[in-house]
């Protein structure tokens, strides 16, 4: 296989795990709270900006900024959830318009605060080229892969081993039954939203280290989250990982074969194919 395609495959696999992480936060919020958080992409871009400014003003390594951005994002997420408690019926419709308005608000807030300039964390060690199985790629991408994988694995343990994780899974399966079992749904919603935002807080710095950060990047990222979640299904982390990897690889091949400007086409093609194959209730279907 040509060197270019080998590199594309590797790059796609590595980036794909980051896409999975991006989607996992979105899927968590949708699964538990039943909210399509259209501003999820904005959360990630905000986290990217946090990590960028920490690096650019204080010289903080992007990986070290992850705990800080996690904390800040979970506070932001929790506050937004609190505000959203005032949303009336019909819940699904109104919350999606709400998060859409939030997208508008956050994107223009970022634009007015930090201008539309494209930012990149150009820490030197990120560009360093490393070799995996004889194929070269950038260290930054490999770190993004590793951190994402670790984060998703920890999340999986959280869901399986802790009481809170169990409560969240119960709430996402059957809200009313969970409530009857004594689970405080309101608190679980709040935690789910905050954890989903925190996951965006992890993805943000990773995103910023391999991708330009600018206010309108949010929409792109939200669509990534959307496509991968649709592919994988809400409850299945394995499905989401697979979806992320497939998207990453498709994008990488599209770039290698058609050129950089057609990158987004891969995601859209995936979306349309999924649409045609899974027309009834995209994120429903197979439950645990």
């Amino acid at each position: 296989m040509a060197i270019v395609l080998q590199q594309a495959l590797l790059a796609g696999l590595l980036t794909g795990m980051l896409y999975a992480l991006i989607a996992v936060g979105f899927a968590l919020i949708f699964g538990v709270v039943r909210v399509f958080n259209l501003s999820h992409g904005e959360f990630i871009v905000i986290a990217g900006y946090i990590s960028y400014w920490l690096w650019s003003l204080k010289g903080v390594d992007p990986l070290l900024s992850i705990p800080i951005s996690m904390l800040l994002l979970s506070i932001i997420g929790g506050s937004i959830k609190k505000i959203m408690e005032g949303v009336k019926e019909p819940f699904e419709l109104n919350t999606i318009v709400f998060t859409f308005g939030l997208t508008l608000f956050l994107e223009n807030l970022m634009l007015s605060l930090w201008s539309g300039d494209y930012r990149l964390i150009a820490a030197n060690y990120l560009d360093q080229s490393i070799s995996i199985l004889g194929v070269s790629t950038s260290l930054g991408r490999f770190l993004a892969f590793t951190v994402s994988l670790v984060a998703i694995a920890l999340l999986h343990c959280f869901f399986k081993k802790t009481y809170l994780g169990l409560a969240m899974r119960a709430t996402s399966q059957e809200r009313d039954a969970a409530s009857l079992m004594g689970i405080n749904i309101k608190k679980i919603d709040l935690y789910a939203f905050s954890i989903g935002a925190a996951l965006a807080g992890i993805a943000g710095p990773l995103f910023a280290s391999i991708h330009y950060v600018y206010p309108s990047a949010g929409l792109e990222v939200t669509i990534i989250a959307l496509v991968v979640t649709i592919f994988g299904g809400v409850g299945e982390i394995r499905g989401i990982i697979l979806g992320g990897l497939i998207l990453g690889i498709s994008e990488a091949f599209t770039v290698a074969l058609l050129g950089f400007q057609w990158r987004e086409l891969a995601g859209f093609a995936m979306l349309i194919i999924l649409l045609l194959l899974r027309p009834y209730g995209l994120l429903g279907g197979k439950r645990y």
């Binding site: 399509f36 259209l38 505000i83 005032g86 949303v87 009336k88 699904e92 419709l93 109104n94 999606i96 318009v97 709400f98 859409f100 308005g101 939030l102 997208t103 508008l104 608000f105 956050l106 994107e107 223009n108 807030l109 634009l111 007015s112 309108s216 929409l219 792109e220 669509i223 959307l226 400007q261 057609w262 987004e264 086409l265 859209f268 979306l271 349309i272 649409l275 045609l276 027309p279 009834y280 209730g281 995209l282 994120l283």
Partner: protein
């Protein structure tokens, strides 16, 4: 609270309004800036009302910029490359948008509620990426410059020049808005309006009761997209410049939505009212005060509306005051 207006009184009110609209350029002393602001405000009023046709049927579209852009680029390409008269190409622009919307309708209407909204978002993005990359047709990120204005009309010995006169374009926009208002009024007062409402309130129940939901949703989508495309086309001949990021971007998808929901998406007046209030406040008051942050205003407007007045301002007024025309 009840308010009774006699039929003659209502007619006088409407006639006065129409007179004001007819002579507005004169009243504004042909002030170029104010006319520009009014023109764009009416453009957004049309866009909001057009968006609302679909929303009234229960389908919230986040991707109406797709139709706007198709209309705009359609007319631009037809009038620039194929030298077609702009008066015809604007209609063609609307038709192109309408055709594209039938594609979306046939593939996406099996999706319900939020899922449909999400794919409309994706389709707008698809068109944006296509417009950015098909440089030979759209000139890509550099944008399309030099789109002609509407050609001169000569009545008797008076020449109406659309390139230099803002007032002339004003009349085009007002007429388009009035045609749209008339169309929507026709919808709301016939069986069509009832069908739309039924679908909006509960699609499954409507289907069970024998309403052909697909047909009506498609009709709503086609009308909505045609008028959005038509206004997009008029916009192209008004501004003479198009650029993919802006024309297919979030701005033209989000703002009509915000204006329509702010004003009240369940009425005819709502979107128009919302558009005029929001745009005029933004342009005339907020823009000079906060040059870079004023668009945040639209985001805040929609957040506030969803939290406090889900039926918009007109919706809220309708709950409090009942107007009876005798």
């Amino acid at each position: 609270m009840r308010l009774k207006i006699s039929r003659p009184a209502r007619n006088i009110l409407l006639s006065t309004l129409l007179l004001i609209l007819a002579f507005l350029p004169l009243l504004l002393e042909f002030n170029e800036y104010l006319l520009y602001v009014i023109n764009i405000a009416f453009l957004f009023a049309s866009l909001s009302l057009a968006w609302d046709i679909l929303a009234y049927c229960g389908q919230i579209s986040f991707g109406h910029a797709a139709y706007f852009g198709l209309g705009a680029y359609g007319t631009a390409i037809l009038s620039m490359h194929f030298k077609i008269n702009p008066w015809l190409s604007v209609a063609a622009g609307g038709l192109i948008a309408m055709l594209f919307s039938t594609l979306i309708g046939f593939t996406c209407f099996k999706l319900r509620g939020p899922y449909f909204s999400l794919v409309t978002l994706a389709f707008a993005e698809i068109l944006k990426v296509a417009a950015l990359n098909l440089v030979s047709i759209t000139n890509g990120p550099l944008g399309l410059l030099g789109i002609p204005a509407f050609p001169e009309i000569a009545i008797a010995s008076i020449k109406i020049d659309f390139y230099t006169s803002r007032a002339a374009n004003y009349y085009i926009l007002v007429l388009t808005l009035l045609i749209l208002i008339f169309t929507v009024h026709k919808i709301l007062s016939t069986k069509l309006g009832i069908a739309f409402s039924a679908i909006r309130e509960n699609e499954e129940a409507a289907e069970v009761l024998g309403v052909d939901t697909f047909k009506y949703k498609l009709l709503a989508l086609m009308l909505s997209s045609f008028f959005t495309g038509l206004n997009g086309a008029i916009y192209a001949h008004l501004i003479h410049f198009l650029e993919p990021h802006f024309t297919f971007g979030l701005y033209f998808s989000a703002i009509p939505l915000v204006m329509s929901m702010f004003g009240g998406r369940l009425s005819l007046l709502g979107p128009i009212f919302g558009a005029l209030i929001l745009f005029l406040t933004n342009e005339l008051i907020l823009h000079p005060l906060f040059p870079s942050a004023h668009e945040i205003f639209y985001g805040i407007a929609i957040l506030a509306v969803i939290l406090f007045m889900p039926n918009g301002i007109i919706g809220w007024i309708k709950e409090k005051i009942e107007i009876e025309v005798q």
